[in-house]
Symmetry: C2
Subunit: 279 residues, 2 copies
């Protein structure tokens, strides 16, 4: 069994992105992400630290704009509009969900496609759906594709079963896999025989948000298992796959933590550098 | 073998929509579609006649705005903006592709989501992708869903294989099927064993645009076959399914012509009436 870990992927990608960032900096452009955070939610803060570290390692900027929990809609709106206009800002990430008093649908659509680094706007969702080469996909599903590419897993003509149909992972991931010419099956809570749909796949992408729901009965020999789940159970992180039971049975698997989730910040960096190149 | 024909579906829907339109008219609102046609392409004209007939049968308006083949971008743009603002217009349909000198991407996105009766804008594509209940899906994939509903074919938990991944049919159809809680497999030209992917389905939706590509080796007993293809071969219309060879083997099949294609104008009517109700 091979373990597909984030670390070598991130190291290789960071090296590549750092070289691109260095070229941009020699032209006076410092690739910069603006993070908009309302309040101090612990998971936002943890992700923020990961982003800042990743951007620093490639010599890029990630600047946090912290707003109080009771901030007004107008203040967030004006900040997003200002950041969207600012030529020194190449990408914008706003942590969500926002507090309930803020109109999230209105706010997330204020960022233009080229600066929407994690696909929060409807227009970028449309581009992911159409796969027309415009805008950026959400970082997590793209991390799955980048990991498969790094570990040299071909996708063309392969059967991929995606478990989960969220707009954050399942559906955009299905579109990215189609772009790579995989044959994609999308499963969910109403799928009748999930075991069969999983067993027949070459690759399983588990993105249901249900701790260890993919067990030994779902897998078969030679499979690649991409675990996108990040769940907290009894104070410990675990994925959507029962790692201990499944890993001895398959060809390759991503651990949680240390797998897909570890590659997402590199995707954010990729988008910000691409945006900086285009400006 | 049952034949799922458009006629009874359209008759039932038209009756329903006519009642809704009558209520609107009693309040002084005449549901109205604006058709924008550039040039005189024969297939546009044929579709236009079908639309006008369908709208007349429900007592609704379908007004054609014909523009010459060499019309300028500005003229089309101004017409679309004017129609979008016009309170007496509840839906807009622009025949595409447009002549090459016109920027189709810019023009198709000028229509607001609520008037975009056949999902030509990116924003409505995003709503179809998210299935968030806003905007209207493209008429052809929705016709598939309406036919299955009329013929009382349950979708929840069913395996559906969609052959084709276009933005006109395959991908939006996959999203509509997911909404109905089907387990959806999307196949395409790079799918390795299309026969197997089709045979294992409860329902096959053929939307590849390849004449009679689905043959007896693709089907199995008890299946429902929805043929979305409309191809011209030797001067005769045929679908993506080899009807003569496949129909004796399955539970139900849509003919071409007289099947899915016949229901699309009713979907257009549905959207225009829904839009008129909301205004």
């Amino acid at each position: 069994m091979r373990e597909f870990r984030a670390k070598p992927v991130v190291e290789a990608l960071t090296q590549e992105y750092k070289e691109q960032a260095d070229k941009l900096k020699s032209r006076g452009v410092v690739p910069a992400l603006a993070i908009v955070r309302v309040g101090k939610r612990e998971d936002d803060l943890a992700y923020e630290r990961g982003i800042i570290k990743r951007f620093e390692s490639a010599g890029c900027e990630a600047k946090v704009h912290e707003l109080p929990e009771d901030v007004t809609f107008e203040t967030v709106r004006d900040l997003l509009i200002q950041l969207d206009k600012d030529e020194k800002v190449h990408g914008i990430l706003m942590f969500r969900p926002l507090p309930k008093h803020l109109d999230e649908d209105a706010l997330r659509n204020l960022v233009s496609a080229g600066k929407d680094a994690d696909c929060m706007s409807d227009i970028n969702a449309a581009h992911v759906f159409a796969q027309d080469g415009v805008g950026y996909p959400p970082c997590t599903p793209e991390a799955v594709i980048e990991m498969l590419r790094f570990y040299e897993v071909p996708l063309k003509g392969k059967r991929v079963t995606v478990v989960g149909r969220s707009m954050v992972v399942g559906k955009p991931l299905a579109m990215l896999l189609l772009k790579e010419n995989a044959t994609v099956t999308i499963c969910h809570t109403r799928t009748v025989d999930l075991e069969a749909e999983c067993q027949r796949a070459d690759i399983i992408c588990a993105a249901a948000g249900a701790p260890r729901m993919i067990g030994p009965d779902h897998v078969s020999e030679g499979q690649i298992i991409m675990d996108v789940g990040i769940n907290m159970v009894d104070g410990k992180l675990c994925g959507d796959v029962d790692y201990d039971a499944v890993s001895p049975l398959v060809d390759a698997i991503t651990p949680v933590p240390g797998g897909v989730g570890g590659v997402t910040t590199a995707m954010l960096l990729k988008h910000v550098i691409a945006s900086a190149k285009g400006m």
